[in-house]
Structures are given as C-alpha cells and as structure tokens.
Symmetry: D2
Subunit: 226 residues, 4 copies
Amino acid sequence: MKEIKESPIVILNFKTYLESTGKNALKLAKSCQTVAEETGVNIMVAPQYADIYRISQELDIPVLAQHIDSIEAGGHTGSILPESMKEAGAVGTLINHSEQRQQLFNIDAVVKKAFSLGMSSVVCTNNIETSAAAATLNPDFVAIEPPELIGSGIPVSQAEPEIVEKTVELIHDINKDVRVLCGAGISTGDDMKAAIDLGSEGVLLASGIILADDPKRALLDLVSKI
Amino acid sequence: MKEIKESPIVILNFKTYLESTGKNALKLAKSCQTVAEETGVNIMVAPQYADIYRISQELDIPVLAQHIDSIEAGGHTGSILPESMKEAGAVGTLINHSEQRQQLFNIDAVVKKAFSLGMSSVVCTNNIETSAAAATLNPDFVAIEPPELIGSGIPVSQAEPEIVEKTVELIHDINKDVRVLCGAGISTGDDMKAAIDLGSEGVLLASGIILADDPKRALLDLVSKI
Amino acid sequence: MKEIKESPIVILNFKTYLESTGKNALKLAKSCQTVAEETGVNIMVAPQYADIYRISQELDIPVLAQHIDSIEAGGHTGSILPESMKEAGAVGTLINHSEQRQQLFNIDAVVKKAFSLGMSSVVCTNNIETSAAAATLNPDFVAIEPPELIGSGIPVSQAEPEIVEKTVELIHDINKDVRVLCGAGISTGDDMKAAIDLGSEGVLLASGIILADDPKRALLDLVSKI
Amino acid sequence: MKEIKESPIVILNFKTYLESTGKNALKLAKSCQTVAEETGVNIMVAPQYADIYRISQELDIPVLAQHIDSIEAGGHTGSILPESMKEAGAVGTLINHSEQRQQLFNIDAVVKKAFSLGMSSVVCTNNIETSAAAATLNPDFVAIEPPELIGSGIPVSQAEPEIVEKTVELIHDINKDVRVLCGAGISTGDDMKAAIDLGSEGVLLASGIILADDPKRALLDLVSKI
C-alpha cells in the first residue's frame, strides 16, 4: 500500500540534521503524511538509516533510504546492505546524492540491485550531462540538483529554468520511462510550480522544509500552487 | 542500565549477513541476551544501523553501532551521524573495522566524538603497530584482528598468541586505561580461553557465531571455559 | 606531431608493473614505437606519471596519463593535476579505469577538463550500460573492459563478442563521434582482429604484452592480422 | 650523495600550483638548491610525480614524493608505485598530508614500505594525538600541521607554540628516533626560528614560498634567523 503514486512528487531528504533525527524524524514524517493526505500530493521521506524502521512501522508514508551500498550480504561491517533497508521498510532509495557521490560503476550496480529487490531508484545528478548519463542506466527517477544551489535558498526551477527544461528533454530522448525531479534551493509554492511547469514531475528538497520554523506549514505552502 | 560491564567481554559484530539482518538480527540479539543472562558474561551486539532501534527497544543487551562518521549534524546525506546512533539506542561504536577502514585523522575525531556523547569506542586494528597507534588516541577498547585470519576459522589467540600478548603489553605501556580485545577466527571456548589467558579482556567475533547452525549453542560453547 | 592518428588503435596501459617502470618503461615504449613505425598501426602508451616526461622527451610515440584528477591548480598535495600531465608530455588520459574507478560527477568533469586542455579522453567502462552512460559525456573514446576478463587471458572480443557489438551500436546511437575500443584479455592477433571485426576501432591492453617474454614480438603478433 | 642531512630542515611541498609545475618546478627547485648551498640549510623539495625525474636528473637537491600508495607492483592503474618514485629519483616521501589523508592501516604499511626501499618517511599529522599515533609507527619524521592554519599565513610556531612543544615532547616520550617538523602558516625567518626554538628540527611549508613574488628571496628570509 505504500507504493509510489502518480506525480506530482515531493521527496523530503532528511539528511543528517538533528531536526530530522530520531523522534524529530518521526514527527517530521508525520507532518509529511498529514500534508500528503490533506492535499493528495505524493510525499515521500528519506530519513536516516536508523529511523527507517520506526517511521515505516508507525506511519503509512513511503520511505526511501538515503543511500545503499553495492554489496552482497556478507562481511561488510558498516556498509548499507540493500536488503537491510528493504526489510526495515524502505520502498526505494536515493542514489548518488551530491553529498554521497558514487562511482559510475556503482550507480549502475545499485540501480540494478534496487530493481531486483522491487525498490525504486532515484539517481541524483549535478548537471545536464550527468543526468543524461544517469538516464541510460534505467533508474525510476533522475533528480537533477545543481550543487551550487543546494541549501542556497535560490530555487533551481527559477534560477536556471533552462537546465531543468533541457534535462527533461534530453532524458526523455534517451529513455522515456525515466521520470525527472529537480532540486536545490526549492522551498516555496512558486518554486514547485515552476518545477512542474518546466516538465519535471516533482521536487527533491531538504533544508527549506526541515529547518523551517513550522515544517508542516512550509510543506503546505510548497504544494499550494500545483 | 545498559552499561558495558566488567570483563570478560564478547562483542558480536553482526556485519551484513542476511542471517543477522532485520528479524534475524532481533532473534540473534535475543540469543545473545539469554546467554549473557545465563552465564554472566558481558555480551554486546553490533547490528546494522537499521536494526539498532528495534533491538534496543525490545531487548536489554548493550548495542553498538558498526561505524559512525566524523560529521557534525547537517547536510551529509547517507552518512552515519553519531547522534542518530545514540538516539536509536547505541551505547558505543566499532571504529576502523578492517572492512571499514578509516583515516587516522577520522579515528581520532570519532573517538573524541563518541566520548563527548558518552558512547564507548572500540577501535579495531590489524597489527601490533597500529594497535599502539590506536592506544594513543584514548579509546575505551582496542580490538586487534589480524586481517588474514578474519573469517578463516583459525583463531588469532591460538595461531598467533605472541601478537595478542605483545599488543596487550605495548598498549598498556602507552595507555593503561585502554582495554584490549582480540578477534579474527575466534569461535570456540578454547579460542576465547586462550584470548583471556594472553591478557586480553575479551573477543570480537562474527561469522563463527552468526553462521553457526545453532548460534545460541555456539555462544554457550564460546563462553564455556572462562 | 604526436597526434592520435586514424584507427586501428592500440593503447598499451603500463599499469604499475616493475616491467614497465622507469628504464623498463622507456624500453617498452621504444618497442611500441618501433612496432608502430614498422606496421603503421597507431600505438599509444600509458606509463606511470613519473615516466611520462622522460618517454615524451626521448621518443615520438603518443603518451597518455593513466588518470587525472578533477582538480584546479592549487593546494592538492599528492593529486594528479591535469596541467602537470600535459606539460610533462601527455596528449590524453585514461579515465575511470577499472583499477581507478571514478565518481560519475568526476568523469564528466575530467572529460571536460581534458577537452579544454586539448587532451584526448579515453573513458573505461565495465559493461554495456556504463558504456552508454560514458558516451553521453562526449569523450573521444570509450574503452569497454568487462572486469572479470581483465588479466584473464580470455579475450573479450572472442569470449563475449555480443558485448562489444552491442556496445558499439548503443554508443553510436547516443553519440556518433565517440570511438569505441575494447579490452580485457586481449593479447593475440586473433583477439585484435576479432575486436576490429566487431566494430571497435582498437584495443586497450596491458599484461598480455607487458609480461610477455618478448613484448616487441607480442606486439607484432597483436597487430599481425589487421 | 643526496642524503637527508642534519637539521635544521626545510621541506618545500610544491603541491599542485602552476607556479610549481613542470618548468616552473625545475626553476623553483633550482632556487631551493642555490639557497641550500649558500646557507647550509638542508632544503628538500616535494614536487609533483611527473617532475621528480627531471628535477633529480638536473639538480642535486633531495627530492621527496608527495605521496606513495600502499601497493605492490602489478595491476594498479593510476596509483603511485613506491618503486616508481624511487627509480625516478625520490629519496623519501610525504605520507598522510592533510590534502591526502590516509587510513591508519595504510600509513603503517607505507612507512614500512618506504623503509624497505631505503626511502625517508615524513608522516604529516593534524594535532597532538595523531602525532603521537604517527610516532608509534616509526617514521623518520612527523610533521605536525594544524589544518586550520594551512595556507592561512598564521604561523603555527607563533600562533600555537604550545602545540609544537607538546608534540615534540610526546613524540619523544614514545619514540626518541622520530624527528619533528612543524608546518602550517610558516613563511618568515621569525616563524622558522620560533619552530626551532620550540624543539622542532625544521619546517614543512608551501604557499608562503611558492606564491611569493620572489621565492628565492622568501627562502633566504625563511632561513635567515637560524
């Protein structure tokens, strides 16, 4: 029942803020779920590994891992076993976030691994060229986030609309089945509307919501114009 | 109440085996707790990140993380925030396991971070020299594991007793407060007895128990001669 | 004058064998140059960093770096500054060799950097999907090397001909300007002929020549059937 | 004949500045040699890999590598084979520079490797604790460089004299044979004099000289008060 529904999509990356750790993570995920239910927008959360089980047990919102490692079960102390994320309740995973960049070789392997486990894959990229490269690997989503705008408060969908547009076009030339998200600097309803108008199916965001005085209100604003 | 008690000590590193993931992790931790209660031996478990919360909620056995990253709270997608491990229930952490080797700089930073959070630090090392180096960083424990013996079934305490003895001696020359564990190839009561006789205060082990036909019986055997 | 000429192309990766270090590197490069002159085949060499200056000073064969880092000039102790490789005499560089795998983000940055310096880029890949991804980044060459065959003596062009064929086709669908090489297990004239017949423009190889009793003879054999 | 002589010692790390690459590297090394000859101070240079051969061929100044990898000869494309550095003319190597931090495990292995090749080892560290750890590994030198001062123009020997003093003391408690250098922010004669007065045997520096309007004059100033 926790499937990833139709667009528009909002993925809230909890990163490693104290405001989104442990009890705070649960509370934030609850706000996300409430807003999703009230507005019909498909909101997903990507909390830290230790919080996945608890959130997926106590709530109904789809949960993503922030990263999985390209490993088989066995002797890999400290690594992120994909099967562990799945059993804890993750229905998908971010891959290659700009704060967790991966080797090309591993991105390919991890997208395939996620697919084999029935998990959705969201490959993050930093520009048009790497977005096209990611699309050739057949992930479910490519999320483009120009790194210079991450956490800047300057929304990619408004500051560099042509990047989003070109990325959508180029990705669909290569692989029609890949859905495009955009991120970096997104926080308001106008930002999200611009993202959708440019052809993306949603947004990936973090600090704009997590660090807001009232995250629930910030989420409501985010989805207010779509 | 889940404090690390007096020696002898057994730390079971769950690594990333399917036999020690999710429900299996909980079951294995329960066996560890039962053996600890029945025998009075101090057994600790180091499960995967996603299983820490559940085990620490449902059981009373001390739980360690397998690794923590040297980061401050903030934008570190996919990294292991020490505070997240603590809030999930970890009372300490392995550091620099041979499958998760760290930069010298980070080992120092992470030992200090664990200390500041009231978490125990268990620095793993691969030989006498790196054990001495680790001791200068003031961790609670140094666990020496010659990498060629890990998962070999050949116990370090019997195959290379002089390494354990010399390590204990050299570490205590440098820092009397550091407690020494040994690992690699340990699985039987004789292995553990030899480890204690050589001056170590316990063992760090994994596959010898996790992959045993009957892990609880294997644990009982492990602690039978001390 | 040391430009990269028309196909067929042979790139000899010197790796870090003692047989291809220092004086041995110079001698091996000289053999490569002699064979290139005698046969008209375009042979390039990729020696270790410390040997690039000497080889490019004393010989006329095109020299590639084995890797360059995605850095700007400045404070990067121990890293490989692209400008340093160029000034030493390298006309291009391998990128993302299976023994030096790079983040997707860096492959993109380094291909662009090489281009801006007028250096040729040879991106190594491990399968069909990553070859397609590499092609979207506009390198001069993509060299596919299934890792399980590297150093195996089993030639990719004969063991897995369909991989080479499909890679050529898929890459040219994405980007007609990218030239395809293949590697892994290549050592004989038959291997190289098969590689060309499958649509590639040449081969990337190493131990089959470097460790041969008589590298010059091995090179002559390699190019004997094209 | 290019042996490392008695203290005081100056090691000039060329890093990856264009001002210290290729022809510029040779010219800078020549200035270092002239100053060494004129003043009797033991100056060593650590140029980029590609410049080691040329400098050691054309000059008489001792040359260090900026880094070596913990590898055996063989299939390690793009890595730094210690034997390659030695054959190119390096008489020693920096290890674990703050811009090239290494795993504890590797620092130990590389110090041993350098020793086995008759090369001097200079392990860089970031604070008192890691300096002590480095000393247990028996390198020839430990060079302490508080990272917050590197490139700052604020000399460690004047800004944090107690760090240098304590490091010298602690290192000599652990291992009398290790010689201590200090770095970070060093550029003037007063800085160097302070370093020597605090018990260190010399300095490791970079931008203060490399980027000076007149590097030779800057070097003469550096060694003017000892």
